[in-house]
Structures are given as C-alpha cells and as structure tokens.
Symmetry: C2
Subunit: 136 residues, 2 copies
DNA sequence: TATAAACTCTATAATAACAATAGAGTCAAC
DNA sequence: GTTGACTCTATTGTTATTATAGAGTTTATA
C-alpha cells in the first residue's frame, strides 16, 4: 500500500490534485492508516492514470466522472460516451477555428508596427483604438 | 453623461464587467451623481471599446493595462508593445498546435467506437484505460 | 531517547475574468 | 405614495488546480 506521496510520484499527479479528485468523487475515499494517512493499492494507480489520460484530452472532471460511471455499468450501450465525445470534439474544433482567426488578426496588427517609432505613431495602438474591429 | 446601464448598452460590455474594469483600474473611477450613480462621458465609451477590442484578441487585463499605460506616455518607444504582442502571438500559436494535436487524438479515439456495442466492449473506454497514452 | 527532517492531515485562499445574487438605496412616472 | 426600473456595495460561484497555514505522524539520525 502506497501513501499519497508515492502515488503522486508513480502517477505524476500532484498530492493536492489527488486529494482534490477524492473530494470530487473521481476516486474513492482511500483507506486510512492508524495515523490517518491515506493508503492506496494498484487499482488507485490505474484509475488515476485513466483520469490523467482523460485530462490530457481536455475532458472536464464532470465528463470524466461520467465516463467512470459508464465504466462501472459495463452492460449499458455506449451511445452516451459517443455523444459526449462528439460534443467535446466539436468544442475543440470550434476553439481551434477561433484561435486561428485570432492569430491572423494579431499578425496583421503586429505588422502595423515597424519599431523605431514612438508610441504616438504606433500602428498597433492606433489600430486598437480604432472603433471598428477591422484592422486592414 | 451616461449612467452605467446606458454605457453598457452602447459598448456591449455588461454592467458588472464595467464595474470590474473600474476596480481593476482599467478605467478611471467614474464621477458620481448626487445619488451616487456612476456618470460617464464619451471618453469612457472610447476606452471601453479599446478594451473590448483587446479582449476580443484574447489579451489579458494586465496586458491591456500595459497598453493603456503606454498609450498615456506617447513619447516612449513602442518596443514594449511589440514584445508583448510577439509573446502573445506565440502563446496563441502554441495553443493552436496543442489543440490540433488533441483533436487528432480525440478523433482517433472516437473512431474506436462503432456504437451498437456495450460499454464493456467500447473501444473508447478501453483505450482510455490503456496505460500508454498512445491510441493507435 | 530526543530531536529534526520529511511527510501527511484539514481547511482556506489564490488563480482569470467575469456572472450571479442579496439587500439596500435612487429615481421617474402614475 | 407606490410601483418599477435602475443602481449601489459586498459576497459567492465558476474550473482545475496550486499554495499556503498550522497541526499531527513517521522516519532517520545524534
Ligand atoms: Zn468536453
Ligand atoms: Zn509600434
Ligand atoms: Zn497574452
Ligand atoms: Zn463505445
């Protein structure tokens, strides 16, 4: 049985994060030692790695909770999982589009300054001050 | 002179947001009426639109504060503005790359489920459970 | 054995940029 | 004079952690 510090090392999740996941019911309340220290077995490692994998895909804690719940009822259909994934993918793609557009605007704005000028003449600030959002 | 509600309508910033910007010193403390209502003139409109424009480019409030400060000392060089913009652009591009990679992984993961299966056989959950982060 | 170092515990606050609410006060119209 | 729309301040919530504070536990060393 590992204490929380070792679990942290093994999984790469910080100690506070592990406690946080417990409070949020993503992992079960751990057994306690006589001195009230949390004790974990291998299943805790697996579960934490599952969560970490999900987080690396930007899935939210509620989404992960849902996946874990589905995982516990292995007989159910996986439509719910699919719907969630589809929604999540859509959000990510929307965000990519937003940022791409943003990036174009920022680069255009950046080109409007050629250094060696004073702020008074700075194209960046002038453009930002313009009431219209368009930059060209 | 406008009260905060009208300023909100004109600029498209919510009333709370305007108060928030005041607290964060992005806009000056407004004059007050006898009844202690905030009163704004046209310069407040301009400044709020400037801020809104910056926010639409995902510039942070501290970054905007910096731009506003530079705007007030028009004789200074604009190297600082440029450095900030460059850093900001870099961050946006990094985030785009991250999300693009994420999106590929999510789509791959999504393909591993073909519906009509039970959760037990679900490729998504199986892949998420795999210790390795790779999905293929 | 005493003590110090390293670890753990709970509870609370901070992060970013607001949104939402509570409870009270102001103002205009009817 | 009372309704309704508006405003005020102050507080809390949002997300997923991170960072404290202050106290207790365990392990290693002098
Ligand atoms: Zn999601
Ligand atoms: Zn410039
Ligand atoms: Zn930035
Ligand atoms: Zn499936």
């Amino acid at each position: 049985m590992k204490k929380i510090g070792e679990l942290s090392k093994v999984t790469g999740c910080s100690v506070q994060t592990i406690r946080h996941y417990e409070k949020e019911h993503l992992i079960a309340s751990a057994e306690r030692s006589e001195g009230n220290f949390r004790l974990y077995d291998e299943s805790a490692v697996e579960r934490l790695l599952f969560i970490k994998h999900c987080r690396s895909l930007d899935l939210s804690l509620p989404e992960i909770r849902q996946l874990l719940a589905l995982n516990r009822s292995p007989g159910s259909q996986c439509d719910d999982v699919n719907r969630m994934m589809d929604r999540h993918i859509e959000q990510v793609e929307t965000r990519i589009q937003e940022l791409t557009k943003l990036n174009e605007q920022l680069r255009m704005l950046r080109r409007s300054c050629t250094n060696r000028r004073t702020v008074e003449q700075c194209g960046i600030l002038r453009n930002l001050s313009a009431t219209s959002v368009s930059i060209g």
